[in-house]
Amino acid sequence: MKFAEALKDTFPIFISYFALSFSFGIVALKMGLEPYLVILMSIIIYSGSLQFLLITMYKKLSLIDIFLTSFLLNFRQFFYSITFLERYKNNFYKIFALTDETFAILIHKKEDSKYDLYVSILNHLYWIFGTICGVIFAKSVNINIKGLDFILVSLFVVILLENAINSKNYTSIIIGAVSFFIFYILGLQNALIFSILLSLIIIIIRHKYV
């Protein structure tokens, strides 16, 4: 019964996870990644924005840059985990599978360890399934369309927009843009990390003194 309920509640997630991970599978393969690596990413990383970002950073950035960028990009999950500290206690899998969408479903529901687990597993499976379908599709159909990887840009634009609207934080966009362009114009090797550090410093100063 609990399982049927979880299946029903996660159906909208199925649609959006499938569409996104399917596109991810195609774009990742087009970028020349090995199929097993693409599917592995969906199993052990299981984070859309990070996976898309990773395939563009692949072989361009050092491991340290990848580590810092990945950590900071998904830092929001830190706050989900804080919210679920007592609910999840020490269940490794459930903590691992706490994505934006899983969080969004569960936060409105009363604690129920079985239901929580079903929702987590189902969403994770949708994500893996979509990726596998995308990989198979890209392997079997010879698509020769330019610009498929633009999906990464529109994905980030929409996530940025959603975050800015929800937190009513429009000055932050400007702080980010300024931090980025300063180091971009300087043309430094590690421009990305420097911009992120600069923006962090600005936020902390603003928090302390403004």
């Binding site: 990413m41 072989k59 950590f71 999840y88 369309i145 529109s154 911009s195």
Partner: protein, 96 residues
């Protein structure tokens, strides 16, 4: 492979840190909650848009597609719809 494992480890850390450290300590970072994601996302979006080997001829198509994405998203607020229409506009423009 190492890239994937590094990202995996970093990602796991964000999910597990509050369970490793004490709750009280984790709460000290709450002030970053609203501002930092927006700042970081704007940096990353620009980073994707302006790679080192940027093709300036394509930039105008990208900006048109981004404007479309934003307008569609502000109007409908449907995640997938905005992403796919935006991407479609770009793919259409570069393949004409």
């Amino acid at each position: 492979m190492f890239e994937v494992l590094t990202a995996t480890f970093a990602n796991l850390l964000t999910r597990f840190l509050p369970f490793i450290f004490l709750k009280k300590y984790a709460k000290k970072f709450i002030f970053l909650k609203d501002e930092f994601p927006v700042v970081l996302l704007s940096i990353l979006t620009l980073y994707i848009l302006f790679p080192h080997d940027i093709d300036w001829n394509l930039l105008k198509y990208k900006l048109i597609a981004i404007a479309t994405t934003i307008i569609i998203h502000l109007y409908f607020r449907r995640f997938l719809l905005s992403i796919f229409i935006g991407s479609f506009v770009y793919i259409f423009l570069v393949n004409r």
